[in-house]
């Protein structure tokens, strides 16, 4: 048995473990922490009416009492602190929740406290045996929150930080953890626009979009090491996440300086526990199905009639007339289709989709430790399937952590891991291919409608090679040295390295490049090395009512990447495919190298007076190699203050607030999210054949991307911008945290105002410059928002517990300035609107999304359409005929006045909200439902035009509708208000039904749970898009409805 005194000393020495080691249940460390807090900060334990004078020491009548501590569900709790109030006597419960303790007098009081639970006090009286049930503390104010380069008690936070526990997000499978955060964290917006991608594909935003083209993705920091930008971080196995903290305001993010402007997601991984060993196993199987029926042409006759009508209206020959068209495709006549003389009706969806897709996720691990060391080993395997046949991702991940307390003053922590993944790409196949074409010819070869047809999905699936694999490893070593009382030094070094390979082969006949070159194969290989090292000192001093903590340190990051890509073209024998590049007639090699460096110094000062008034000052100086010579360094300061009002007597006297804290912060953080070398000119490369020799040629202007409906046009860049510098975001935040109604309702509300200046953006250039786009920084964008998060324990009686959580986010975005007209070349339109085109062209128009002063980022710009023309207007021009769009600005000669363009929509939502309901029964059953919704955003729905089922209501002489134009194959579609739809939606995101296995029945078990989760079963929306959740530019993109995933899982621990 340990005495409290000894434990307390130990704890206080390790007061400053920087990462969130305190915040997990069943960890002896928590107990140390609580023990210490209960002595050093009495107010913390909510001692109620207790005063010191109450205590009386009696050394004569010592006797043993024993007991068991259970949670709400009757499960024993391990590691619960049981102390005798006012003394140093105490113990912790064992694995069975049991404790034994010596008491000296009957009037002594036992204090039973445990992280995340309400502390209880019980008079000993004459009892010698106790059964104590601890209730969950709804908000867990004792929680320790991980912040950059340190951790603080939640109640001491001055900044705006939201947090979610790992176990909340792992009831369904995903290739990357970001998609699982949707609707879980206040202020964090996650767009899962590619939810059938087995590798995961998400857009993650904290408090809106502030940058234009610089990255808007938050920085992800795992166990203190910056990993990269959120979006698709496959490196993190979601199953080993203990908690995720999202740093939102400037005070919280400024410690990450130049990378903090978009918020920071701190991931803390699980660690082993002292003095015990557990083996655990999680298994999940998910089935993916379409959430709605597919909408494509099944009725070939109607399809042929409408297509022909469309061609005839264009004044060209119809297609279904039983002849070859100019491309050589034979289309049967409508008669042949009608009477069945043309026998083929292929349901391409059967060849394209899996119904269902099956994803399996296995995780096993061992965790444990002895007095001085802890370890955690986890092995995860994910076998993910996309909806399309052959679209696969599998990943195996091994993660290890080991901590060893070498001496009272020295703690060594290590984390290392290895992950390997394989991706087979078979995506974007044409499931709406004309059903009149067969899959195979009579001889078993694949059917091609003409020689240039490269769209037979079965041929593509079977004959094409496109896959990638990677192997990555990481290792971190951290030394925590308690130099002297209150002073701790942390030295940390981390290396991440990996290599990836991709393989492609395009066979002749069935693929375009394969046909062009008589087989084209490629193999790419790349590797990277990222070194991060930092050192920081923390000094903590408590002097009477003053509590001071100062932290300062330096960090250095270096990223080197190299790549090699080999292509072979022209294979006499294609049997060996891309494995025989040396057998190709022509071999091409491309390679690359890039390097970036970031060097920084940072500091943070925390000061608390009387545990009521808290001040934080944070600053970081960052130097980045990405910027121009004179702009390499940036300085990012921030300050925050908070007042724990509930400690004040006048609040206590109200007897209303169990907890009340107000916070305010202001600071500056930066964004350097651009690719390297933008501050120097970059030359392009091509080939030129001259007099029997092929030259490799170079010069000003290089390919930087593609544009056009089929991405057929090259975009040129490479112009230097020597003045590139940091993008800066200044943010003001004011927030309140409170708990009321006997802690049954907790509320966190924040208002923020962010101003981003020196906007990093890829500006369009007028094509006469010889460049399409260049990086610039100029202009200002503002985000104002309100975040509300409510947590209520609504029912907590008898066998039932019902909790509800509401997250509400509102953000208003506005472009304030886009630089001077001289420097940015913005346009002033006929209505005086000042704007700059931004983003790709759409349909037949050059652009849609603009940055317009006074309007939100990404606003839609285009023509207004006022219904459909019913009577001829003006000339014979096609645009003036009945059945055409009645554009505002349509001229008599069929031209449309470009000055009639205006802002026609806003893709930014008015608000997003999620509601999380949880019902728990003591029998072990639990039910959780998560609803997620978005309101007030516009979608530019191109599906409105091409969705099969909508075609039938087109304008005709007999159907003079105002809703749809006539079908006309050669109509050139401009960005117009006709395509704008309300994008609001409400979705049932998750429904989880779980059952906790009774440990009493399964004695060998420590914990066991089985569950069934359904994600995305229902969505309510009004858009014509297959899925209302579109990218932040508001353009519809989903090729088919969202996937509903049904997951069955089991978790056991013994």
């Amino acid at each position: 048995m340990l005495t409290i005194k000894k434990i307390t000393m130990k704890k206080c020495n390790q007061n400053n473990w920087p990462t969130g080691l305190f915040c997990r249940k069943k960890m002896a460390v928590t107990f140390f922490a609580l023990g210490c807090f209960s002595l050093t900060a009495p107010a913390f334990n909510n001692g109620g009416n207790y005063t010191n004078s109450h205590y009386k020491y009696d050394k004569i009548h010592a006797r043993e009492v024993q007991g068991i501590v259970l949670d709400n569900n009757g499960q024993p709790l391990e590691g619960v602190s049981v102390t005798v109030k006012g003394t140093s006597v105490g113990t912790a419960t064992d694995a069975n929740g049991k404790f034994t303790l010596s008491v000296n007098a009957d009037d002594q009081i036992l204090v039973i406290s445990f992280s995340g639970m309400k502390t209880q006090e019980i008079s000993v009286g004459r009892q010698s045996s106790f059964q104590i049930t601890l209730e969950a503390d709804s908000k867990g104010m004792e929680e320790v929150i991980v912040v950059g380069y340190g951790a603080v008690k939640k109640s001491d936070l001055t900044g705006s930080v939201a947090s979610v526990k790992g176990e909340k997000i792992t009831q369904s499978s995903a290739g990357s953890f970001e998609s699982l955060l949707q609707g879980r964290v206040s202020g964090l917006q996650v767009i899962n626009s590619g939810n059938d991608n087995p590798q995961g594909a998400t857009t993650v935003r904290v408090r809106g979009v502030s940058s234009i083209n610089g990255s808007n993705a938050p920085l992800v920091v795992i166990d203190g090491i910056p990993l990269g930008e959120a979006g698709n971080l496959n490196a993190i196995n979601p199953n080993i996440i203990a908690s995720v903290e999202v740093l939102k305001d400037a005070s919280a993010t400024a410690i990450y300086g130049s990378r903090g402007a978009n918020g920071v997601i701190m991931v803390t991984t699980k660690r082993g526990a002292n003095n015990r060993t557990n083996v655990w196993l999680n298994q999940k199987t998910s089935l993916g199905l379409f959430s709605k029926p597919l909408d494509y042409w099944q009725d070939a006759l109607t399809m042929s009639i409408l297509e022909d009508e469309s061609l005839e209206n264009a004044g060209v020959e119809p297609r279904y007339i039983g002849r070859r068209d100019p491309s050589g495709t034979y289309y049967p006549s409508r008669e042949e289709i009608k009477n069945g003389d043309w026998p083929y009706r292929t349901d391409w969806t059967k060849y394209v989709f899996r119904q269902p897709s099956v994803t399996q996720d296995y995780n096993v691990g061992v965790e444990g430790g002895n007095k001085n060391s802890r370890y955690y080993i986890s092995l995860g395997y994910l076998d993910g399937q996309g909806m399309q046949v052959g679209d696969d991702y599998d990943k195996i991940a091994l993660d290890l952590s080991y901590d060893n307390r070498v001496s009272d003053k020295l703690l060594i922590k290590t984390v290392a891991g290895l992950w390997k993944a394989n991706r087979n790409f078979n995506y974007g196949m044409n499931y709406s291919r004309n059903p009149l074409f067969p899959v195979y010819n009579g001889d078993g070869s694949y059917y091609k409608m003409n020689q240039q047809d490269y769209g037979n999905v079965v041929a593509m699936t079977n004959e094409r090679v496109s896959n990638a694999s990677n192997m990555d490893g990481y290792a971190t070593l951290e030394v925590n040295w308690d130099v002297m009382k209150g002073l701790q030094l942390v030295l940390r070094g981390s290396a991440r390295a990996g290599s990836s390979n991709n393989f492609t082969f395009n066979p002749p006949v069935y693929t375009f490049p394969g046909d062009l070159f008589n087989g084209e194969g490629g193999m790419g290989s790349s590797n990277y090395l990222n070194i991060t090292s930092d050192a920081f000192l923390t000094y903590t001093k408590k002097l009477n009512l003053h509590n001071l903590s100062v932290m300062g340190g330096i960090t250095y990051e270096n990223n080197v990447g190299r790549g090699l890509h080999a292509v072979g073209q022209g294979f006499a024998n294609v049997i060996l495919r891309e494995e025989n590049l040396s057998g190709a007639e022509k071999q091409l090699i491309f390679n690359s190298r890039s390097e970036t460096t970031l060097a920084s110094g940072f500091t943070r000062l925390n000061y608390a007076f009387n545990d009521r008034y808290l001040l934080t000052f944070t600053a970081r100086a960052d130097g980045s190699s990405k910027f121009g010579d004179d702009n390499k360094w940036g300085f990012f300061p921030s300050g925050a203050a908070s007042w724990k009002m509930s400690e004040e007597d006048f609040i206590k006297d109200l007897n209303f607030f169990d907890q009340l804290k107000v916070r305010a912060s202001y600071g500056i953080s930066g964004n350097q999210g651009i690719s390297p070398y933008q501050s120097i000119s970059q030359f392009g490369q091509d080939f030129y054949y001259m007099n029997g020799k092929e030259y490799i040629i170079y010069g000003v202007g290089k390919e930087i991307g593609r544009e056009g409906a089929q991405r057929e046009y090259v975009q040129f860049g490479g112009m230097a911008n020597k003045n590139l510098r940091w993008e800066k975001t200044a943010q003001f935040d004011i927030g309140v945290d409170m708990e009321i109604l006997d802690r049954r309702l907790s509320i966190t509300a924040d208002f923020y105002h962010k101003k981003t200046s020196d906007l990093l953006r890829r500006q369009f250039l007028n094509p006469s410059t010889g460049f399409d786009r260049v990086w610039t920084n100029d202009g200002k964008v503002e985000n104002k928002g309100f975040e509300l998060s409510l947590d209520g324990r609504i029912i907590n009686k008898g066998n039932f517990q019902f909790n509800a959580g509401l997250i509400f986010n509102m953000n208003r975005n506005k472009v304030i300035d886009i630089g001077s007209q001289e420097s940015s070349g913005y346009i002033i339109d006929a209505n005086g609107l000042r704007y700059e085109p931004y983003g790709e062209g759409i349909l037949n128009d050059a652009y849609l999304n603009v940055l317009a002063i006074g309007h939100p980022i990404n606003s839609f710009y285009g023509y207004k359409v006022d219904g459909i023309i019913q009577n001829r207007t003006g000339s014979n021009a096609k645009n003036n005929q009945p059945g055409e769009f009645n554009y505002v600005g349509l001229k008599g000669d069929g031209g449309i006045d470009p000055n009639a363009r205006t802002i026609i929509g806003d893709p930014n939502p008015d608000f997003t909200a999620s509601l999380n309901l949880q019902l728990t029964h003591t029998s072990g059953f639990d039910l959780a439902v998560l609803l997620y919704g978005m309101y007030g955003n516009d979608i530019f729905a191109t599906r409105k035009l091409d969705r099969a089922s909508l075609q039938i209501n087109r304008w005709t002489g007999e159907n003079p509708t105002n809703d749809r134009p006539s079908l006309r194959a050669d109509r050139q579609y401009l960005a117009s208000s006709w395509f704008i739809e309300d994008g609001s939606f409400l979705r049932v995101q998750h429904v989880t039904l779980g059952y906790r296995l009774p440990v009493k029945t399964f004695k060998f078990l420590d914990h066991g749970r089985v569950y069934l989760n359904v994600s995305n079963p229902v969505t309510w929306s009004k858009t014509s898009e297959f899925d209302p959740e579109v990218g932040e530019n508001g353009r519809g993109s989903a090729a088919y409805p969202r996937i509903t995933a049904i997951t069955a899982g089991i978790e056991i621990k013994f």
Binding site: S327, I554, K626, G684, D686, G701, G825, P837, I896
Partner: protein
């Protein structure tokens, strides 16, 4: 305190390590590390030629803009190759934007040569002189394309190096011509004569300058819009005659190829005497279209493999238009245009009316009524297709069929038009006619009638080679001569500068 000192030292040491943060362009050529060797300069020069070979420039869009818009082609209401077939166009139309962009890519790259090569050390004086002259030629070539297509366009004389230089004033047509003439006058004396496929020499520069003066002269003479400023048409014709005369009379490397089919023979593009400036796409070129050509597919009819006569004078033997791939029926010759050729004009045979089986027996014959045929072969053969672009040796779909940017026959016609109905003028136009088996032009024509004859001769000689609308514009005949489609009148004289340019750089 001790630790504050440590931090202070650390931060100070960090700020002093500026070199650590220096950005080095690993693996990328940049202004800083290029233009060192003579080969660098040559490669950069070829990069300035390179845009011409692309679909967006001469290898497709030039034909779309210049020829599809005229009576040379019609769509037959079959499919929708490009909206230019019926002038259903607006300032966002792809051809307008990308042709513009590629011409300016050429301008920017030529400007880069002109800025960097003069100061180079490791280069022979001969090469330096030659490369700079070629860059002047190229810049003039690109601006001449631009001014004829769009009229007033922004004038960039330097590589754009910052956003503040992006907006350039729209130069008047007069200023643009002055600029083009100056560039060519600088180029001509500095260039040598050496035929190289894919590169220009002095003869090409003289050819181009003669055409520049010719355009000014005829535009002024006919009252074509935009050329009111030209002082005197005859004076400009005299200048055109001076430079075209240098091409036809004062050099020995180029001449009229006596064999018409040789001009279009893919095997004689490099060594043929006819080609003064020709693109250099090559069937085994690396990467994608532009390094090789797909012109035969664009011109052929939609059948898998087409055999045509090996000779146009009536001999036996057949050849493929292209090896083992189908054509796209993209450029559809107007059969009325075909009918404007005299029956004894050999150039009429450059439009194919009979296709064969591999063994030489006739497979099908063109007839306008084929468009209604149920026979798939006949049904594809509803227009006589152009055989100026063929490559029987193509590697699958990759061919060496090139664009004939400057031919000797055109120089002869420029010269004839410039000098008018003189004996020399008659001599040169009749040489061109004679090669096609035609009798001499009627003697004693007035200058006006003679020049009108030359314009007709040009449509027959230079059909499907990217001259159509430019010749109609400079002779003020667009609305009169384009009869098989509805010309959008506002674009008759010049196509619109693309919306993206006018939006970002308003006129």
């Amino acid at each position: 305190m001790k630790f504050i000192t440590i931090i202070a030292i650390a931060i100070i040491s960090l700020t002093s390590c500026k070199r650590m943060l220096e950005e080095k362009p690993y693996g990328v050529f940049s202004n800083a590390n290029y233009y060192n060797t003579e080969q660098d300069a040559l490669n950069a020069l070829l990069y300035a030629y390179d845009p011409i070979n692309n679909i967006e420039y001469a290898a497709r869009f030039m034909f779309n803009l210049a020829d599809i818009t005229t009576n040379q082609y019609k769509s037959y209401n079959r499919g929708l190759a490009t909206p230019l077939y019926n002038w259903d166009v607006n300032p966002n139309t792809d051809e307008f934007l990308y042709f513009f962009k590629y011409a300016y890519l050429g301008v920017s790259r030529a400007n880069s040569i002109l800025e960097n090569v003069p100061g180079m050390k490791n280069i022979s004086p001969t090469s330096r002189k030659q490369f700079i002259a070629e860059a002047h030629f190229l810049r003039a070539f690109h601006y001449f394309m631009l001014v004829r297509t769009y009229g007033e366009v922004p004038l960039h004389e330097k590589v754009v190096e910052s956003i503040s230089q992006a907006k350039a004033t729209y130069a008047s047509i007069e200023q643009l011509y002055a600029f083009i003439i100056k560039d060519l006058e600088l180029a001509i004396p500095a260039m040598g004569i050496a035929k190289m496929q894919g590169r220009a020499d002095r003869v090409a520069a003289q050819f181009l300058l003669s055409k520049v003066f010719l355009t000014m002269a005829s535009s002024k003479m006919t009252g074509a819009k935009g050329y009111e400023w030209v002082s005197d048409a005859e004076q400009m014709y005299a200048k055109a005659a001076e430079y075209a005369g240098a091409v036809v009379n004062n050099q020995t490397s180029y001449s009229l190829d006596p064999n018409l089919l040789n001009v279009y023979d893919v095997n004689h593009q490099a060594d043929g005497v006819e080609h003064i400036f020709i693109t250099s796409m090559y069937r085994d070129g690396k990467a994608y279209e532009g390094n090789f050509s797909q012109l035969p597919q664009l011109y052929g009819i939609g059948l898998p493999v087409i055999y045509i006569a090996s000779s146009i004078t009536g001999g036996t033997g057949v050849q493929k238009t292209i090896e083992a791939t189908s054509s796209w029926s993209y450029y559809r010759v107007d059969n009325d245009f075909y009918d404007t050729y005299a029956n004894n004009d050999l150039r009429k045979q450059l439009m194919v009316t009979t296709i064969y089986n591999e063994n030489g027996t006739v497979l099908a014959t063109y007839a306008p009524s084929n468009i209604n045929s149920g026979n798939p072969t006949l049904n594809a053969f509803f227009y006589p297709f152009c055989r100026k672009y063929t490559d029987p040796l193509s590697l699958g779909t990759r061919t060496s069929a090139n664009v004939y940017l400057m031919r000797f026959a055109e120089a002869a016609l420029i010269y004839a038009e410039s000098v008018g109905p003189t004996s020399e003028g008659y001599a040169w136009v009749n040489k061109v006619r004679a090669r096609s088996g035609l009798d001499p032009l009627t003697a004693g024509l007035s200058p006006q009638a003679f020049r009108e004859q030359i314009w007709k001769e040009r449509t027959w000689e230079l059909a499907f080679e990217g001259h159509g609308i430019y010749d109609l514009r400079r002779t003020n005949q667009v609305l009169q001569k384009i009869t098989n489609k509805q010309v959008k009148a506002e674009y008759a004289d010049f196509f619109p500068v693309p919306q993206r340019e006018t939006d970002l750089n308003p006129k």
